[in-house]
């Protein structure tokens, strides 16, 4: 039993060592892709929104390639799914409300 307990710090260190490169890769992508928009990017938000509105008004949305349209659909679905992830965080459980 004492040998098992003595092995725990060794196991923990080896787990951290094997996870660090993967964590580094994740952080490298997360710092660019997952950060919230900085105040400097607020203009970009309005611009993107105006682009969508203009394309909807002029009918340019009918002329984009199917590949781009499919990509837009997927991105929109992903953005909407974050709402449900937030709801799960807010209510505390994955399935159902534990009243």
């Amino acid at each position: 039993m004492s040998k098992l307990i003595a092995r725990i710090p060794v196991l923990a260190k080896s787990a951290v060592d094997s996870a660090t490169p993967k964590l580094n890769t994740f952080m490298r992508y997360a710092k660019v892709e997952l950060v919230p928009p900085t105040p400097a990017e607020v203009g970009g938000v309005a611009q993107g929104f105006n682009n969508i509105m203009k394309s909807a008004q002029t009918g340019a949305w009918k002329n984009i390639p199917v590949k781009d349209a499919w990509r837009n659909v997927l991105v929109t679905t992903e953005v909407l799914c974050w709402f449900f992830i937030g709801e799960c965080i807010g209510k505390g459980t994955f399935v159902g409300y534990q009243v």
Partner: protein, 85 residues
């Protein structure tokens, strides 16, 4: 994962949309949970009251049925029923 490629610069609108959706979801989840919890507390209170009444009724009926069954069994078994039963 073989080659992941360079990190993509995500459009600000998408980033804004994702984070707004996340925060809205958290707030909505918490508020909906609280409202459901309040409603459930009211229902649970009413149920405990009704349960007490229901338990008393069931116990009374059980006693009555028990008595009638004993009288019937006495008749079948040929045992005389004592006068104060």
């Amino acid at each position: 994962m073989a080659t992941l490629g360079a990190p993509v610069r995500v459009s600000p609108l998408i980033k804004f949309g994702r984070w707004t959706a996340l925060v809205t979801g958290i707030l909505y989840g918490r508020s909906h949970f609280n409202s459901l919890k309040a409603k459930e507390a009211v229902i649970r209170e009413e149920e405990t009251k009704k349960q007490a009444i229901r338990d008393a009724q069931l116990a009374e009926e059980k006693l009555k049925n028990n008595k009638q069954e004993m009288i019937y069994l006495a008749g079948e078994a040929g045992v005389k029923v004592p006068p104060n039963f």
